[in-house]
């Protein structure tokens, strides 16, 4: 809307009077619209004052409402002159809100509970009311206790803090009406602290948790006092109450200590040790909790065998234990060195055993001992690698909260499901995949999953699902992010790609390659910047991260049904699972993560096309043939693809066929860097020592494809 139009609307006086809050609201919205349009400082000064005056009028915080109202009208008139006629109105002293921008001070001048008469009369009229309140308050307190357990495990969970804040707020509210002074004050204090905690101004500390739980206990006893016949001594002592309130005041001031999230295993042991519960009960509850997906602590409380209090304190003891536990801290560099060395050991051991001279010795004992040696070194390798592996569960778990927050913000209903979260991944990679996973989930939620109404219209359930799966396949770890949203729109992607200049209008692009384009920097089909996922800037960063990890991203999608993004990553950074191939006299290693299949093409499958070079027809898909012997400058055994072997690899721009003489075998190899001077070499990403002691170069598929494309042009 134009400034002129807005001012006209303002001037036409749409507010009926200082009580017309809706009208005032309309006015404030218009003024903010004006500010967004961009106005000069003099006008901005006026709008600021008008907003301040409105605030006072609304909150009934003004010393002279009539004067303020008149001032507002004058200022709006003046605003009009300023913006439309460029005439700065003389700002009369009375137009200025006294005290500048002093924030509204919350003055609890009169304790609402001092209105004795009101409270009492309420009870008299409705004696059931008090009973009702006590019932409901007790339920609230029980739910607070349960939620506190969850909060202890994850003190940063705003959702849970909110779930604890609300019942305190509700209890406080009703206590106010019923003139229950002590309950009202205590609930109010705790509510204040929780309000700050939920907006991030204060942390949930160990002490705070204790204090809140104590407050729950005291509130319970205050409620019990209400149930007693009048005149009998109260259960709660005034000193107890006073001390508690002091403690609450302390936590409101904030502490420096931050709670670290405790793990939940062995909780049962602690409880059994304390004699709180029998071992069989714990076992049964453990079974049940696994089935129902709850935590052991929650399950035990649900069954009524243990007080939430006990669980909370057992959890804390456990945390203490963890801190003092027998762990060894080790320099990751040393660990990496150890793993490397063990890798070398495996190779050296293999070299000795496969030595032809040794092989010729037909001694049975030697055979047995060699076999034993091999077994031991393999196990040693497994153990050393496992020291570096961590379950991907932690990373996946962080996504639950993310999905919950994002779905709330976006108004979409989304559930996150996980499979295979015990799958282990090299700890060096865990950090690296966190960001890419977050981006992918944001994208799935923002661009993939539709709003509930749209989904229902399309015949889907209103609630969308994102599924995260992890599994080990071959020597790699495969992570899938699947959503049942609207899928990728090939036409739109193509259109954008042409617009951005990535693709010429006349180019034919295979579907798979088309989807890969979304990883190009600057590519985004969403015009609107959404708060949820930004401008889709994440995608090229995701690709870079996965590349850095020597992994691959695959995309599969069905319009209207959903998409699956697959990350294929090597199990660890130091060792790769590779296919050893021979080209001429040399051997090379192609990482299996990049490999789709290998085959010997038929003569008819070999095609040459004007302007495109040599191609191989693989199941009706034409793929460029890349002659590795040309790239690496070696004399091959076979030049005709139908005599040799072709390895199909997938890269950004599609699928390619690498020509090789033969496949020697599949092997896990320790990657050795070729040194600084060789780092610039394109097409080779490192070297490895094979079982016989000879060196094989590791093929950098992306680089080789790039070279081929470059040569072609």
């Amino acid at each position: 809307m134009m400034v002129k139009e807005i001012v006209e609307q303002l001037r036409n006086g749409i507010i009926a009077g200082p009580d017309d809050l809706a009208g005032i609201g309309e006015c404030i919205n218009l003024i903010e619209a004006l500010e967004n349009e961009g106005i000069d400082p003099a006008a901005a000064e006026i709008t600021k004052r008008v907003k301040e005056l409105f605030r006072r009028i609304i909150l009934e915080d003004s010393s002279d409402p009539d004067q303020d109202w008149a001032a507002v009208q004058r200022l709006i008139e003046g605003l009009g002159s300023q913006l439309l006629e460029g005439v700065t109105p003389p700002l009369v002293l009375t137009d200025l809100p006294a005290g500048g921008d002093a924030p509204l001070s919350i003055v609890d001048a009169a304790d609402p509970c001092d209105r004795q008469e009101e409270g009492e009369s309420m009870e008299i009229q409705d004696p059931e009311l008090l009973k009702d309140f006590i019932e409901e308050a007790k339920e609230h307190l029980a739910s607070i206790e349960l939620n506190m357990i969850t909060l202890e495990a994850d003190p940063g969970d705003v959702g849970v803090i909110n779930d604890i804040f609300r019942p305190f707020h509700s209890i406080k509210g009703v206590a106010g009406f019923l003139n229950l002074k002590q309950i009202h004050e205590l609930a109010h204090e705790v509510e204040n602290y929780l309000d700050q905690a939920r907006s991030g101004k204060l942390f949930i500390t160990n002490t705070a948790i204790d204090v809140v739980l104590s407050a729950v206990d005291v509130l319970k006893s205050l409620l019990m006092d209400l149930e007693r016949p009048p005149g009998s001594p109260p259960e709660t002592s005034p000193t107890q109450l006073k001390q508690l309130r002091e403690r609450v005041k302390l936590i409101q001031q904030g502490e420096v200590e931050i709670v670290a999230a405790p793990p939940v295993d062995k909780l049962g042991e602690i409880l059994v040790e304390r004699g709180v519960v029998a071992p069989e009960v714990v076992d049964a509850a453990l079974e049940q909790s696994r089935v129902s997906g709850t935590r052991l602590g929650e399950q035990l409380v649900k069954e009524g065998v243990v007080e939430p209090r006990e669980v909370g304190s057992a959890l804390r003891e456990q945390r203490q234990m963890k801190e003092n536990a027998a762990v060894v801290r080790i320099d990751t560099q040393k660990l990496d060195n150890l793993v490397d060395m063990v890798g070398e050991l495996v190779i050296a051991q293999s070299m000795v055993i496969n030595n032809p001279t040794i092989e010729m010795i037909k001694d049975q004992k030697l055979q047995k001992d060699s076999a034993q040696l091999r077994r031991i070194t393999t196990e040693l390798q497994r153990i050393s690698m496992s020291m570096r592996m961590v379950p991907i569960k932690n990373t996946f778990q962080k996504m639950i909260r993310l999905v919950r927050d994002l779905s709330k913000k976006s108004g979409k209903e989304v559930t996150l499901e996980m499979k295979g979260e015990e799958t282990e991944i090299d700890r060096n990679m865990v950090e690296e995949i966190y960001e890419p996973l977050v981006h992918m989930i944001r994208n799935a939620l923002d661009h993939g999953i539709e709003m509930p109404a749209e989904r229902v219209k399309a015949g889907k359930e209103a609630r969308g699902t994102i599924t995260l799966t992890a599994q080990q396949k071959g020597g790699n770890i495969v992570i899938e992010i699947q959503d049942d949203g609207r899928g990728l729109d090939a036409a739109k992607i193509r259109e954008k790609a042409v617009k951005v200049g990535l693709v010429a209008p006349s180019d034919t692009i295979e579907e798979g390659a088309l989807y890969q384009l979304i990883f190009e920097p600057g590519f985004s089909t969403k015009e609107v910047v959404t708060e949820v996922s930004g401008r889709g800037v994440g995608m090229d960063v995701v690709k870079k991260s996965i590349d850095r990890l020597r992994g691959k991203i695959d995309i599969a999608t069905t319009a209207g049904k959903g998409s699956v993004f697959t990350f294929k990553l090597p199990l660890t950074m130091a060792i790769i699972d590779g296919m050893v191939i021979r080209v001429g006299k040399e051997r090379y290693i192609v990482p299996t993560v990049a490999l789709t299949e290998s085959l010997r093409p038929l003569r008819e499958s070999y095609v040459t096309v004007q302007g495109q070079g040599e191609l191989i027809n693989v199941r009706n898909c034409l793929m460029p043939l890349i002659r590795l012997h040309e790239i690496f400058g070696v004399e091959p055994r076979y030049r005709d693809p139908w005599d040799a072997l072709v390895l199909v690899v997938g890269e950004n721009n599609g699928a390619f066929c690498l020509l090789a003489d033969e496949i020697v075998g599949r092997q896990e190899v320790v990657i050795k860097s070729l040194g600084e001077s060789m780092r610039q070499v394109v097409g080779v990403s490192g070297g490895a020592i094979l079982g016989d002691g000879k060196v094989a170069l590791i093929v950098d598929v992306k680089g080789v494809v790039g070279l081929h494309e470059g040569n072609r042009k």
């Binding site: 005032i24 919350i106 609402p112 009101e118 509700s170 009703v174 009406f177 109010h188």
Partner: protein, 126 residues
């Protein structure tokens, strides 16, 4: 229209609170009082019944009082429905938000029948 002929919808997730508000409304001569324990049930009621006044709490799970207000104001049949927001002293600052979303008026708990009566006089046609 007299209070006794109006239909009021009271929204609060705490049943005792709803009861208290109901009692006060009865004091003021309201007879037809509907209740909802969260925003979505309130929305359901509004779809099927004619309501003359909404009294809603601010702090509710899933759909807050503000969310409900925004729905009411964006829904053609209810866009001018008198809406009274119940809030606590400590959350007073939120009121400006509600005003921008066109709330009719607000009231701070705990309140008396007298205060409620004054507020209602400002927002109900009489």
């Amino acid at each position: 229209m007299a209070y006794k002929d109006m239909t009021v919808l009271v929204v609060d997730d705490f049943s005792t609170m709803r009861r208290i508000v109901r009692n006060i409304l009865r004091e003021l001569d309201f007879k037809d009082i509907l209740e909802a324990d969260d925003g979505s049930s309130a929305v359901e009621i509004l779809k099927t019944q004619k309501v003359d006044l909404i009294v809603s709490d601010w702090n509710m799970p899933k759909m807050t009082g503000l969310d409900l207000l925004k729905f009411v104001r964006s829904n053609e049949p209810t866009k001018d429905l008198p809406f009274l927001m119940v809030t606590a002293e400590a959350q007073k600052e939120n009121i400006v938000e509600a005003v921008k979303a066109k709330v009719s008026n607000y009231i701070i708990k705990p309140f008396t029948a007298v205060t409620l009566s004054e507020k209602l006089a400002k927002i109900l046609p009489n």
